[in-house]
């Protein structure tokens, strides 16, 4: 059975010049896999992730025909029940650790707090779990980092701490919204490696939201390509370079490539028909 199923998800925001439809009918399912969602800024990829966790505040409106977490209906849940889902069953890692960690609380306290949400247990036990988790995300000196404040750590460490915090309740699904784009390439690889292991070892489902096509095609199993609030194409990640949709091809061609030098980069011509055309599913 799929971990998560979403059918016809819509997100809209009322503006002075009428209702703006940011996500217009997105459907997908997630199994124990790495699902990539790519698209440019404004394509609705982050809002899709947030809508699943009901993190879109009024006046924004979310509707869907169906949103199911296993056999539970996410749409029918009360806010209280949703709070039990967030962090426990579905976690989310945001782009920039600088804005997501509490600056006046030590790293250890924050992770312990996340653990206490799901399980009882005495302080020693929680501390022990936290240290183990820090080790699991490849932090070499957990004792020191436990006592540190977020500003004393580098961006890459901050991101790994975010991941540790999100994973300590052992969620079934992790939504990672541009988790590595604030990081240097070498650190990026470490963070991806950790997430990769979690998917293969714990059977977690991962939704990986990114604008980096190269990265998604090498890291994920399956990719959804979003344009103007819709999924225009879905394909296997390793076949992304053979994508059929002109938008996907345009995006791929506009990237400079190390292995294929080109005099001029081709510029993406946007076809208004992409906004409305039906999705022909390739996978």
């Amino acid at each position: 059975m799929n971990l998560l199923e979403v059918e016809n998800l819509k997100v809209s925001f009322p503006t002075r010049s009428g209702v703006f439809d940011a996500v217009r009918g997105v459907s997908f399912s997630l199994g124990q896999e790495r699902l990539g969602i790519v698209g440019e800024s404004g394509s609705g990829k982050s809002l899709t992730g947030r809508a699943i966790l009901r993190l879109i505040r009024p006046p924004g409106r979310v509707s869907a025909d169906r949103m199911a977490l296993g056999d539970e209906d996410l749409l029918a849940m009360s806010d209280k029940q949703m709070r039990a889902v967030r962090g426990q069953k579905i976690s989310m890692v945001m782009q920039d650790p600088k804005f997501s960690l509490n600056p006046v609380m030590t790293v250890g306290e924050q992770i312990m707090e996340a653990y206490a949400q799901s399980r009882r247990g005495n302080r020693r036990e929680r501390r022990q779990k936290t240290l183990e988790m820090l080790e699991a995300v490849a932090i070499r000196d957990p004792e020191r980092v436990f006592k540190a404040y977020p500003h004393e750590l580098s961006g890459g460490m901050g991101q790994r701490i975010m991941i540790a915090m999100m994973l300590i309740p052992n969620p079934g699904i992790l939504i990672a919204d541009e988790p590595t784009s604030a990081l240097d390439v070498t650190v990026q690889m470490q963070v991806l490696n950790i997430m990769d292991k979690l998917v293969s070892e714990r059977g977690m489902g991962l939704i990986f939201i990114s604008h980096d096509l190269n990265l998604v095609s090498s890291f994920c199993d399956r990719v959804l390509i979003m344009y103007a609030g819709r999924v225009v194409e879905s394909c296997r990640a390793d076949e992304l370079y053979q994508a059929k949709h002109p938008y996907t091809q345009g995006l791929l061609n506009s990237m400079p490539r190390l292995d294929v030098p080109s005099e001029r980069l081709s510029v993406l011509e946007r076809d208004p028909a992409w906004r409305t055309a039906e999705l022909d599913d390739a996978s």
Binding site: E40, S41, A138, G155, D184, V185, T186, Q188, M189, Q190, L192, N193, D196, H211, L213, N214, L215, S217, S218, F219, G250, L251, S254, M255, P256, R257, L258, D259, P261, S262, R264, L265, S266, V267, L268
Partner: protein, 258 residues
């Protein structure tokens, strides 16, 4: 007299005594006139700091810096800014939110004591592919790519021969990045510009530049040509690691811990 940029034994530091951080250590670099050199490395490796020291935005430096034969001291002359201009990373932060495009460009032209402001603004906008209908717009009415075009027009206003580009496309989507990179190569051809470009993206640097200088911890690790880079012929392990990471994610434990 050498044309272009000559940097010899450059050291840059921030803070004093116990707080002193050595951002750039003994870097020597040359950019001949009409060529383009890319500076790559991780954040904190000192690549942007070199540009800031060149333009006079950082005053705590030692060593020798020369632009078109003029040795740089603690202060920069007006003539210097007619030769060297800089484009910054974030077009959302580098434009004044309450100044229209017209104000931004006319102020710059006035600072450089240039006449014929009206004609120059129109031709600058044409040069960066914006057109005159954008002249009286404010930054919030422009997209990221259009803002970066305004920032490039502002840099070109003084008719410089050298442009310092600090991650000019990293805040933009790939399709917009392609437009800006094409614009930069067109401008270089039309105006015989010299580029010194900082980026963390090897593919972007390789597209625009002929040679690449790799930095790590404030030091210059290696300089190599783009042809060598594309052939993956890097000597230093750090450069090889950068190259490998830029090719995408490698499954399993092949990625070194560190």
């Amino acid at each position: 007299m050498t044309q272009g940029i000559v940097i010899e034994g450059l050291n840059v530091w921030f803070g004093e005594h116990a707080d002193r951080v050595q951002a750039v250590r003994d870097v020597s670099l040359q950019v001949a006139a009409g060529t383009s050199v890319g500076l790559v490395g991780e954040s904190g490796s000192g690549k942007s700091t070199i540009l800031r020291a060149l333009t006079g935005l950082v005053s705590s430096w030692s060593g020798h810096m020369e632009v078109d034969g003029e040795t740089l001291g603690k202060r920069r002359s007006l003539a210097f800014y007619n030769k060297v201009q800089m484009v910054f990373q974030d077009p959302y932060a580098s434009l004044h939110p309450r100044h229209s495009v017209d104000q931004v460009l006319s102020e710059t032209l006035a600072l450089h004591k240039l006449r014929d402001v009206d004609r120059r603004i129109v031709s600058l906008l044409d040069d960066v592919g914006l057109g005159r209908q954008f002249r009286f717009r404010y930054p919030h009415q422009l997209s990221g790519g259009q803002r970066q075009r305004v920032a490039i027009a502002r840099a070109l206003a003084a008719e410089p021969s050298i442009l310092l580009l600090d991650e000019p496309t990293s805040a933009l989507d790939v399709s917009v990045q392609a437009e800006i990179l094409n614009l930069l190569s067109d401008l270089r051809e039309q105006r015989q510009l010299t580029y010194l470009m900082v980026s963390h993206n090897l593919a972007v640097v390789a597209h625009l530049c002929e040679s690449i200088a790799v930095m790590q911890n404030g030091q210059l690790v290696e300089t190599l040509s783009v042809a060598d880079l594309r052939a993956m012929k890097a000597n230093e392990p750090y450069t090889q690691q950068l190259l490998k990471s830029s090719m995408g994610y490698v499954r399993s434990d092949e990625v070194a811990d560190g």
